[in-house]
Structures are given as structure tokens and as C-alpha cells.
């Protein structure tokens, strides 16, 4: 081990309590940074996971307003459309309003065909298609509420009045960890059948059409063509890519996301201040040692590298611990957040950002102590009281 490395390593361990407290602060800050970045990334996961050849057609006025289900045939007839399915946001309450999870009424067969990211076994699919009251639930939702195939669950309608009973046909998984499995899907024809009795005005209507285009190259052309079909009708449509829709949805919460990002960087700035103070205190205490090193022939650069090395080593250890802790903490947070996030998966870019933050904090915290120790005259340094 080189003399420099030996001095750096032993100086790191010199004031164990101080180093431990600094490390603790660093771990908390870099961990918080990583988790907050992961939360923001997850918010955008829907955008990134959107299939580029899928379009969403909704009411041009607002996605809260429905479209006639009869539009399906006319959309299917547009040149370039391969398949069409439709869905409704249900918005029911399971036992208590705090038990929120997304529920959609879907045209079961076509919806599952067009959404390969939803993995269901053939048996579950058959069961779902056989029973008009059938529903499938995602793995995360099933785990949270203990739903099992055959269970009957009741939802209290908010948009659609009355109590609604569903029979769990099975559980679906996601094709990848980013696929949200906190949803419940039930059959649109069941919803529509009941609405025809209970609330005729809401019957035969859907929230969205999902359109599968034959080629990604024709997405823009097809979306314009669909909207042209319904121009000047009583319910004009707005067709956009799934990705655009998700971006629009996420944009509604953009202020919050920006705030989270700012907070995550503020946390880093705070730990930078703490670390800089620690390093300044450390260097001030050792001014006489640095002066002695310079007196016996070591260069100011060597002394500066001692401080830089110590700071970067502490920051790197803190960063490494924080990076190692981020996935389990994020996973725990995802469990605590119930159905808010499909899964909090720490991305490689977040890990890189955490590592970079730790190194930058370590390097910047050492700048002023380095300058001082390198530039202080030997005579003044030797007079310093440690």
C-alpha cells in the first residue's frame, strides 16, 4: 500500500465517531436521493412502457366524458387499423374509500389480445370469458387483499351507481416488473348490461378505444384519420399515442414531480454542506501535520491529495452503502404505498446518479480545505494549534 493510501485510510478511521456520523448523513442523503429519483422514474414508467403502435381514442372535450360504443365499428373501418378494443374507468370503492385501486371494465377477449404485457394462463382466460361477472386481478392487488380465484368481491360504484359483485376468475402477472399488477379488470358487457337497467344514460358508452395500428410508421396518419371520421359529430374524438396520453396524464402532476426532483437535489446540497464543514474542521485540526509534511519535502499537491482522498473515500463508502440499501428500501416503500406504484425499481441511471453525487460531494467538500492546507505557509502551519 502506498504511503499516501495508508495515510488516507488511517485518517478516515482517526475520528471514528465523526466519520460514522458523516457516513450516516451521507447514506441517508444518497439513499433519499435514490428513492426520490426512483419514485419520479416510476411515475414516468407508464410513458416509457407505452407500446408505440397503440393509440388511445377518447372524447375530445375531456377524458372524463364517454364515447358511444358504436364508434368501434367505424374506427375499425379506418385504413391502417388492425384491431380495436375499449374500456371504461370504473372508480368503485372496495369496502372503504382508502382501499383505492384502479378498476377497468374491458372488452375481455380483444383487450387481452391487444395487451400482451398482461399475462394470464389459458385456464384463467377461459374462466374470465365464460363468466359474465368474472374479473381478473393483478398479482400485487391479490397479494394485498388476499384475493383468490373463486372469491366474490363487492365494489360500491361512484361513477356507476349501486353495488357491483364480481367473481375472481384468476390472477394475472406482468410481463416485466414495470407492468402494473395492482389493477382489477372486469367485463364491459356485464357493466353495460346492468347499466341498461339501472342507468340507461350511461349504457352503451366507453371511456377509451384502444387502437392497434398496422405499422408504427402510420400512427400519425391513422390517428388523424380516426379523428376526421368523427369531426363535427356530437362527440368528437381525440386520438393520440398511448405515450402521448401518458405524458399528458403525468403532466397533470408535473409540479409535484418537479418538487420531488428539487427536494432530492436539495438533500444532496445539504449533505455537501455538512461534509464540507466536516472536512474543513478536519483539515484545520491537522494544519500542523500538513505543514510538517511540507517542511520535510512533500509538495502542497500531496497534502491536497491527502484531504481529497479522505473526503472521496468517506463519500464513496457512504455512496456504496446507500446504493446497496436503495433497492430494498424502494421495495419496502412500494409495499407501503400499496397500489400507488406498480413497483419501485431502481434504474441503472439512478444508481449512476447516486454514485456520481457521492463522488461530487466528496470532491467538492474537499475543495476549500485543500486550498487552505496547500497554500498555508509552513511557518504559519507549524504555529497552528491542532
Amino acid at each position: 500500500m502506498s504511503q499516501w493510501l495508508k495515510l488516507v485510510a488511517r485518517n478516515v478511521l482517526r475520528h471514528r465517531l465523526r466519520t460514522s456520523l458523516t457516513l450516516f448523513g451521507l447514506v441517508v442523503a444518497i439513499l433519499a436521493f435514490g428513492v426520490l429519483q426512483t419514485v419520479v422514474d416510476t411515475w414516468y414508467a407508464g410513458v416509457n412502457g407505452a407500446i408505440p403502435s397503440r393509440l388511445l381514442t377518447r372524447n375530445a372535450m375531456s377524458f372524463a366524458l364517454p364515447l358511444p360504443q358504436a364508434y368501434e365499428k367505424r374506427i375499425s373501418a379506418v385504413d391502417g387499423v388492425r384491431r380495436v378494443t375499449y374500456m371504461n374507468w370504473f372508480g368503485g370503492i372496495y369496502k372503504d374509500p382508502k382501499n383505492f385501486f384502479p378498476q377497468f371494465a374491458i372488452d375481455a377477449a380483444s383487450y387481452l389480445d391487444m395487451h400482451p404485457e398482461i399475462l394470464v394462463s389459458d385456464e384463467v382466460r377461459r374462466s374470465f370469458l365464460r363468466d359474465r361477472r368474472g374479473a381478473i386481478v393483478g398479482r400485487k392487488l391479490a397479494n394485498r387483499y388476499g384475493f383468490k380465484p373463486g372469491n366474490v368481491i363487492q365494489l360500491r360504484g361512484t361513477i356507476f351507481p349501486g353495488n357491483w359483485e364480481f367473481v375472481i376468475a384468476g390472477i394475472f402477472d406482468g410481463r416485466d416488473p414495470k407492468t402494473d399488477t395492482s389493477h382489477l379488470y372486469f367485463r364491459w358487457d356485464y357493466l353495460n348490461e346492468i347499466l341498461r337497467v339501472r342507468s340507461k344514460a350511461q349504457a352503451d358508452q366507453v371511456g377509451f378505444f384502444v387502437v392497434d395500428v398496422v405499422s408504427i410508421d402510420r400512427v400519425a396518419e391513422v390517428s388523424q384519420a380516426i379523428d376526421a371520421v368523427f369531426r363535427n359529430s356530437f362527440a368528437e374524438t381525440l386520438t393520440e399515442t398511448e405515450r402521448s396520453f401518458q405524458i399528458g396524464f403525468v403532466k397533470q402532476t408535473e409540479a409535484m414531480l418537479i418538487s420531488i426532483r428539487i427536494v432530492s437535489f436539495v438533500v444532496i446540497f445539504i449533505i455537501l454542506s455538512v461534509m464540507a464543514n466536516t472536512m474543513a474542521m478536519t483539515a484545520r485540526e491537522r494544519l500542523r501535520e500538513y505543514a510538517t509534511l511540507k517542511a520535510i519535502g512533500f509538495s502542497p499537491g500531496y497534502v491536497a491529495r491527502l484531504i481529497l482522498g479522505e473526503s472521496v473515500v468517506i463519500a464513496s463508502i457512504g455512496g456504496a452503502i446507500a446504493i446497496a440499501l436503495t433497492p430494498p428500501v424502494a421495495a419496502h416503500l412500494a409495499v407501503l404505498s400499496a397500489t400507488l406504484f406498480p413497483a419501485l425499481i431502481v434504474s441503472a441511471s439512478t444508481v449512476m446518479l447516486q454514485a456520481l453525487s457521492a463522488l461530487v460531494v466528496g470532491a467538492l467538500a474537499a475543495v476549500f480545505p485543500m486550498r487552505r492546507a496547500a497554500h498555508v505557509s509552513i511557518v504559519n502551519g507549524l504555529r497552528a494549534v491542532g
Binding site: 495515510l7 482517526r14 501535520e289 511540507k294 520535510i296 519535502g297 509552513i378 511557518v379 507549524l382
Partner: protein, 243 residues
């Protein structure tokens, strides 16, 4: 020991350090306070010179200038014929590493390094291999009687032992001269005598030139010459014949 009186000036051949018209002042409160003014003096090879005088007399400033850790405002300081006042900072650091061994009042050892590692420290600036550095450091420690303390940290050693480690560190590179600033100022009488005895042996047996600042007359009594400074000027010089 007997005092022989005011010293004669050394002849040119045996001069190691030649100070010519050296002036140095410090800025205090916006004013320059002169410490040394046109100071001229020669220090011989293999000399053991004690610098004495009241606080503020300029003895530590003179020591710092001789050691190359401070620079004069005017004048020249030649060591073995080389004017160190003309050396750039990086070269001066190399010069100090090769020519000067430092002994400080408070030892100034690296607290995180063992006695052996502290002594080895200046050798890392040389091109020596690790094995050779270790051997030399061990030899230096044995010269100061600390062969059995090589793995001890400074905090595990007495003040006298720490100062002996500092002496070993000062001599390990075989420098031309040793500069000592109050080397016994923090030691009890017995430890001080041990340290001064070692310094005297280094001067007599190994021919090291030593310049030592001290307030202690008993410490100064170990030197061959004693220079008294008063307000930055040579007050008087005493040559001693040591038995």
C-alpha cells in the same frame, strides 16, 4: 566545559551556511515589523550552534530561513554554496527533503503512523525500494535507542521517546544539517538530557551540522557555539570547549 570567549569568524572553506544582509519583517496590523535587519553570519560545517535570545529576538525566524521554510525579504542565504533564496518553491521542497532534518518542540509526528512508518516517511520522497526504506528507518531508530518501539504509535510513546523518533526521522535521509526548534522545550530534564546527548553524538560522531533554537541555558551548553540575538541583531557569540 569552558567558555573560550567571543568567536572568530570561520574561514571560507569550512562555511556551510552563509547569510548575507538578510532582512525579514512580518506584517502586523497593516505595519511591517522588522525582525532581522541586514543580518550577516556564517555557520561552519559540522557545527553545533545554539541560538538564544528573548522572545521576538528573531532566533526562530533565523532558523526558519536557514531551513528554507521561510524566505527573506532581502539578502542571500547560501547553503553549501547554493543560494536557496533563489530556488522556486518546488525546488526548495526538494532541497529541504535532501538537505534538512527537522526536529520540532512538539515532535510533529504523524499520529496515525507507527514509529517506523514515521521515520520511513521522508524516504518515500526518494527512489528507494520499500525494503531498503524499512532497513534505513530501522537503523535510524536503533541509533536513537528505539529498536523495540518500531510498531508503537506516537500516542503509545513518552515525550522523550517521541522526540527520539522525530530525531530518527530527521536523520534518516542523511541530511546536510539538522534544525531543531526548542527540541527539549516539552520534555522533563532526564528526557531532555537524553535527546541532547543524541544530538551531541550526531554532531560529534556523524558530523551533522546542527542549528538549535533554545531558551534553556543547559540545552545550549551542549552546543559548540552559542549565538545570542537581541532585537534581530547578533548580541554576542560564545564559543565553548566541550569536554
Amino acid at each position: 566545559m569552558s567558555i573560550t570567549g567571543v568567536s572568530e569568524a570561520p574561514t571560507g572553506e569550512d562555511v556551510l551556511i552563509a547569510l548575507r544582509d538578510v532582512s525579514k519583517g512580518y506584517r502586523r496590523g497593516g505595519q511591517i515589523v522588522p525582525v532581522l535587519s541586514k543580518f550577516t553570519f556564517d555557520i561552519r560545517c559540522k557545527e553545533f550552534l545554539a541560538l538564544m535570545g528573548p522572545s521576538g529576538s528573531g532566533k526562530s525566524t533565523l532558523l526558519n530561513l536557514i531551513a528554507g521554510i521561510d524566505s527573506p525579504d532581502h539578502g542571500s542565504i547560501k547553503v553549501a554554496g547554493e543560494d536557496i533564496t533563489r530556488l522556486p518553491e518546488a525546488d526548495l521542497a526538494d532541497w529541504r527533503a535532501a538537505n534538512v532534518g527537522f526536529i520540532f518542540q512538539f515532535y510533529n509526528l504523524m499520529p496515525v503512523l507507527t514509529a517506523l512508518e514515521n521515520v520511513e516517511l521522508p524516504l518515500t520522497l526518494t527512489g528507494l525500494k520499500r525494503r531498503e526504506r524499512r532497513d534505513r528507518a530501522q537503523l535510524a531508530l536503533s541509533l536513537v535507542g528505539l529498536s523495540d518501539r518500531v510498531k508503537h504509535l506516537p500516542s503509545e510513546l513518552s515525550g522523550g521517546q517521541q522526540q527520539r523518533v522525530a530525531i530518527a526521522r530527521a536523520i534518516v535521509t542523511d541530511p546536510t544539517m539538522l534544525v531543531a526548534d526548542e527540541p527539549t522545550g516539552d520534555l522533563d530534564r532526564q528526557s531532555a538530557e537524553e535527546v541532547l546527548g543524541i544530538m551531541q553524538r550526531l554532531n560529534r560522531e556523524m558530523g551533522k551540522t546542527i542549528v538549535m533554537v533554545t531558551h534553556d541555558g543547559r540545552a545550549a551548553a551542549h552546543a559548540k557555539r552559542i549565538m545570542h540575538l537581541e532585537k534581530g541583531e547578533l548580541s554576542y557569540l560564545v564559543e565553548q570547549r566541550l569536554e
